[in-house]
Subunit: 360 residues, 2 copies
């Protein structure tokens, strides 16, 4: 198979971790007879530095023509980086939002699970963890507060800012379908999260989710209020299989869920469009403070590449191979500094990548 | 002193826990020569059952004329209670929102701290807890998505729902001032939480917080993105002193913060207007599943009454007395079921109230 990838190395640790993911892909390609061709494009701070804007039309066109996008991470330190002196629409994040919208990446899938080997890094007590947890957050990614009308104006001399949270039934339905589809392949349980006791958009969300649920008699579901969900993630993460929610709630809850695993450097993510197209990136950020030191953990990005093989190219066997290689390296006791614990062998970014390649 | 209180016992466990708080107030009144007069009003489900609406104008008028409002908790099980078959504006929560807005209760203060005696109930590991944490969440309560324009309509046959998130500089300034004032009496550090990389309202929030901060040279502050804050609460709760944030983010983060203490049955809350007026209620909900069994924990409500003495009546000594009484009862090993652990003495709601009274 010939896979034509657009690659956004991004900012901070992005270039280091993406490089390792590309090397892993090449190793898999060699073993199974696939070719990955990479076209690098700039986005975020790296693009601002070169073009004065976070995503050019040319870069966007290349992404559109690709079969899938592999991404590192973008953005810098919001207090110290000069990128954050720019007007909002020229900052690194604006490029990411434009990319998501232009590519129609409405379904953000973020798995959050406890690695048995990394249990000690989990901030929750053993009693809370029990025999582990394994959930997927399905976040709507191209609607809601992120893409509504917004403006700031002076009304009678008083500065006033307005953002709009809007959803229509089609936007809700397509993400709900994705959530129920994924639940079907897992433990068959969806928890749809909203704030239906306050928001109209949440009440419509609930209605449409109930309509969709009718087509999935084998999947159980419940509604949960967002404030309660923020509590339940800490209190009893084992109750979750698939969490379905809108854009802003998903931003908050998926980060909370990542953190309770204690190993955010291990968590991948996929942002999917209709059809097979998707963008794949680690769940963590660009960690500018440790960039360029060859100490970042490339595993989240490598596992994101595995997700890409699975979702965009139906290469399940090859994805399994990467996931197994990662598990084997962990079982052998190798750790990057973020997941290091007593008695383990500390390795850098490149070495971790190589160890995984050696398993393939 | 003569304190004229409006009392909303509310739904679920509300009546039981408020009764104990009133008994504690009376005991303090007797000891220090204050009179508490109570006018009970209905709100939430209890009001729906009698009047067909969650808050009548008469009840609201009584609340307005009082010196302060003491409240239990409102609402029922959203899946099974008939209250949730009603249109949104007739449900229990609508009464609470109307009350908040009509009374101008713009500043919601929710302390979240670890009780040394209840460390074992904390879901976080000992290494994360360290020597404990102690924070206050200052949540804006009468603006943002909760009170913006909203509507649901069909556009070309497609159901569409819209909510509006709006803030003006005055709304932001007055809550920021409250946060910096409180920080000054504590560890002098404010973390202001927003989503300034996406929302106009958050960018205005940041600007105004920075303006306010100029008047508090003795208080340090930083900005934090809401998704990061949701992570940091789990990862390192000790870094927080005062968290300042808007209504919806505050709803989510304050519940998360309550839960990481592991003893939400102990956490009070105050909702303040300009001046001395305020509404005081426990941070937890109405727990309909355990209502009427005399097993609910009244401490959060009793401590909310203490907050009332402090904030609305400047009765600091009396508030201290209640807080000390609660600590003493815990130190003696008495626990309601929600905070029970091995070797402790289990007591019911009434008995817990009485034990606290006995200390006064
Ligand atoms: C960078 C930011 C705009 C983005 C978001 O809020 O969606 C990030 O937090 C994420 O979750 O991918
Ligand atoms: C009942 C509900 C409307 C309310 C809110 O969201 O403000 C509650 O969750 C709270 O935090 O007091």
């Amino acid at each position: 198979m010939n896979c034509n990838l657009a690659v956004i190395k991004g900012d901070g640790i992005g270039p280091e971790i993406v490089t390792e993911a590309m090397r892993v892909l090449d190793a898999v390609g060699e073993k199974y007879g696939h070719t990955f061709s990479y076209t690098q494009i700039l986005m975020g701070g790296a693009s601002i530095d070169v073009h004065g804007e976070p995503l050019t039309e040319e870069a966007l066109e290349i992404a559109k023509k690709s079969d899938a996008v592999l991404m590192g991470s973008i953005g810098g330190n919001t207090s110290t980086s000069p990128w954050y002196k720019l007007p909002a629409q020229l900052r690194p994040e604006a490029g990411l939002l434009k990319l998501r919208k232009s590519l129609g990446l409405f379904a953000n899938i973020r798995p959050a699970y406890l690695y048995d080997e990394l249990k000690k890094a989990c901030p929750l007590r053993d009693e809370v963890i029990g025999d582990g947890f394994d959930m997927v957050i399905m976040r709507e990614l191209t609607g809601g507060l992120y893409f509504g009308e917004r403006h700031t104006e002076e009304i009678d001399g008083v500065r006033t800012a307005v953002d709009t949270l809007s959803y229509n039934e089609n936007e809700i339905r397509r993400i709900a379908i994705k959530a129920f589809d994924i639940a079907r392949k897992r433990k068959k349980h969806v928890i749809s999260v909203d704030k239906a006791n306050v928001l109209d958009s949440s009440r419509l969300w609930r209605t449409v989710v109930e309509e969709v649920a009718k087509d999935y008699e084998d999947v159980t579901y419940e509604h949960m209020l967002v404030d309660n969900c923020a509590m339940q993630l800490v209190n009893n993460p084992r109750q979750f299989d698939v969490i379905l929610t809108e854009n802003m709630f998903g931003d908050i809850l998926s980060d909370e869920a990542s953190m309770i695993t204690g190993s955010i450097g291990m968590l991948s993510s996929a942002s999917l469009a209709e059809g097979k197209f998707g963008l794949y990136e680690p769940s963590h950020g660009s960690a500018p403070d440790i960039a360029g030191q060859d100490i970042a953990n490339p595993i989240a990005t490598i596992l994101s590449a595995a997700m890409m093989l699975r979702y965009s190219f139906d290469l399940d066997k090859e994805a399994d191979e990467i996931e197994k290689a990662v598990k084997a390296v962990l079982a052998d006791g190798y750790r990057t500094v973020d997941i290091m614990s007593d008695g383990m062998k500390k390795v850098g970014c490149k070495e971790m990548g190589q160890l995984i390649i050696d398993q393939i």
